[in-house]
Symmetry: C3
Subunit: 350 residues, 3 copies
């Protein structure tokens, strides 16, 4: 009898196909507390109801990346259960804050696909959208994954590859119009640097680091309803590609974001992710460090209380980021680099 857990193979996708992901997932202050215990995030609007209300929000919203992981997790059974690799993200926009009590669901559209020349795998491009209980979009992003074919012999109609933007216009992400960065307590955010204080090209070593435990990344990944097998089954992975469980890439993103509080404490909201690359896998026992570079800035249209910074955050394992390990001239990376993330944050002006 079918277990219902076989997932889709490359042949099962076709451009234009709509994938409904289920079941929905209500979120709560319990999820928020677990997210805090797993990453230690301290950004003021997500930590304090009082601070969030001083911005015009009804209370502390969920961390943006927690929303990302919850929507991502929902898409795994239909999109990436048979994925060999999660190749990239683009055009990720955070469209509406999510609050405890909301219920998230997700839907994906297949944007395109391309068979690999070995005929054993192919690349599938999807746009996934997360909705709240009022059918409002909270998040939308494109990703592409390498998926196994059922059989190398089978012919697959030639698919098209979608054209995806390399940078999101940050103001395409919608900030609740009630929100204003004018009345908050400037001594209470834990940060003293504002939008104007960051120069393009500035680099920040986030200083702290976190060692990843198997129990932690598995608890995180289950919290997100992400069922990708490589994260959970030490017995089977002993015979797998790396000989052990692989940490969900999003876990590394959240660690890097939490570490970035040191230096980017007022980078309160992630408004978009332009691109993300998991340069190398992370395993239980690895210690994650991070550094960031300011690579762009944009005004918020007709708002003088806030601005957008474009940030590139690089995470490494088992290597300090004091000297900013990076891509080398030939496009390859320092061997310690595991993540290269390009995103926009929304910050208050001084």
């Amino acid at each position: 009898m079918t277990s219902g857990a076989a997932g889709n193979f490359f042949e099962d996708f076709r451009a234009g196909q709509i994938l409904q992901h289920g079941p929905a997932r209500s979120v709560s202050v319990g999820d928020v507390a677990l997210y805090t215990a797993l990453y230690g995030g301290r950004f003021a609007p997500q930590s304090s109801d009082v601070f969030a209300r001083s911005l015009g929000l009804p209370g502390a919203p969920l961390d943006d990346l927690l929303v990302f992981h919850l929507v991502f997790g929902k898409t795994v059974p239909e999109v990436s259960l048979n994925a060999i690799a999660n190749l990239g993200y683009a055009e990720c926009r955070f469209l509406k804050p999510v609050f405890p009590g909301d219920t998230l669901s997700a839907r994906s559209e297949v944007l395109g696909m391309r068979e690999n020349t070995n005929r054993e795998t192919g690349i599938v491009y999807v746009r996934s959208t997360g909705f709240n209980q009022n059918d409002e979009q909270v998040l939308s992003y494109a990703r592409w994954v390498m998926v196994r074919k059922r059989s190398a012999e089978k012919d697959v109609p030639n698919g098209q590859v979608p054209k995806l933007a390399t940078v999101v216009e940050p103001h395409e992400s919608t900030m609740d119009p009630r929100v204003t960065f004018e009345a908050f307590d400037r001594g209470a955010s834990g940060g003293s640097l504002y939008f104007e204080d960051y120069a393009i090209g500035a680099r920040i070593d986030h200083g702290d680091a976190m060692t990843v435990e198997e129990a932690e990344h598995m608890m995180a990944t289950r919290l997100y309803h992400n069922t990708a097998r490589v994260h959970f089954n030490a017995h089977a992975e002993k015979q797998g590609r790396f000989g052990r469980r692989i940490v969900y890439g999003g876990h590394v993103i959240s660690i890097a974001r939490a570490l970035s509080f040191n230096g980017l404490a007022n980078a309160w909201f992630v408004s978009a992710i332009n691109a993300g690359r998991h340069v190398a896998p992370c395993f239980g026992g690895d210690t994650v460090y991070a550094w960031s570079e300011i690579i762009g800035a944009a005004q918020a249209p007709s708002r003088d209380d806030m601005g957008y910074l474009r940030v590139r955050t690089v995470a490494t394992k088992d290597r300090s980021c004091a000297d900013f390990p990076d891509r080398s001239g030939d496009g390859g990376y320092d061997p310690a680099v595991i993540l290269d993330l390009d995103y926009w944050v929304l910050m208050p002006r001084a």
Copy 2:
């Protein structure tokens, strides 16, 4: 001075005795989030307030097995602190859904007891009942445990052994009469199979597996206020029966139930447990797999929107369930089997 932690020995029990367990335990969305992080359960009514309301419930109820563990945990100090083995369960009925905000308490009645021929241990049978803050029964089950005697010499009056049903009539478990399985969104539960789609004798390999970490099973077991020492003390267990901590058997039940979503996604409620056997212990580092067999079906009286399936779920460690490892002809089990659970689930009809 007494530590109050000595627990009861075989000589301390007598048939008819009432054991009041305390203190009560309020449950919250925090407990729900931890349960999700520990097992990754995705059954729709427990995951989504919106979905639960479409069934007529006021919101997402707690997972039935979380309720079981919370009531079970409450009984440990008086029933099984000096237990050598948890021998079995029977007549377990889930009587009322539990919601965040409820407060659970527990009481047990000693049903009977029998000294073992070695005179060093005896078997104690109890019926434990969980109550909510309105003194309504939420759960009732019988279990029997092997308990140490203080002294082999001491005579103990001959106790009687209770007669327990081998199968619960599933409709004896009460489903809230407000609940109906008629109006829910059939695309939103994550499952496409309904009551009628399961044939008796059908077997399902649940496919996924989960490796158990020491931190996980200890966090789970503390969450349940279960204080049995063998789960927590690596230092003392080094000299114990297995040389290490033993995972609470209920942790394995919850893993198996979460894995069973693959193939039984619409098996929304556990209405009764007929029998449960922890065939072998589970330890930190073991990877748990599971498969299920449909062993019975029953109509819900005067309801054409739901039916009961009787399911037997078998869990193994460090062995795939693709070939359904089971009892052999002589009654012994495949050496990888650790759990054999016989229970009723309530499912929607097509």
Copy 3:
């Protein structure tokens, strides 16, 4: 560019200085559930809303030590990021119960400082105060830490050392006047001993023990927003003083307090901490045991329903407390002792 994570060095402190810690931290039932999962505390007023209401509280308050850790964690970035050792606590008063939904912030005043003769470090004394969202004090305590100097050469003005009380008058801690210990259900707290049942000098072996996992203490410490690096970075600590991560001392305090339920089940509230000493470090894999001695008693002024017990709780690692391992005559400790905590608890009278 500064990472904002450098913290203060000895030269940066001066007596009378006010340190504002941020950002604030809202607390929820999610934090409560995690605290339960991490320590397994079973004290009735913190476990059960129903029980708490029978005392006149609006619902279950947070565990007092959870409040302590949350306030302590807030102070780390400004007080102890460059600390070599957390030397002691004094004059710790719990001033107001904290409930889910409250938002905690913290402020510290530098009480005094003294350079060490090696001129490379100094001792800084601070009084830290936690506030709720109504600016009411919930907790106040003094602590002193050994902090690195930026440079041994630099001269530092001679600071004064504050005079701190060795014992807090327990009734200086304020119990909500609505609270009464007269109407609670005496069979429902899990404890049968009351204030009068404890003789000064009585010693209690708490019996149970808990092995600490790396994932657990890191999740706890992040939950408290405590960013002290020695707890999180296995890679750097390999070259550190102990060759591995050190468990946050407060984690051991909470384990010892949870274990003390066995024998002190009705010691519902910690009203003050007189002194605390982390005698030796605790590491992942250690198993923590605890015993307590009753070292004082005090009447609650004009109240005949409650009294204060002064308790000394000693925790060990990898050694049973059945024979009460302690300080020896020369002031040194049994080598297994890791914590010596002197505090007042508020208990019901019989």
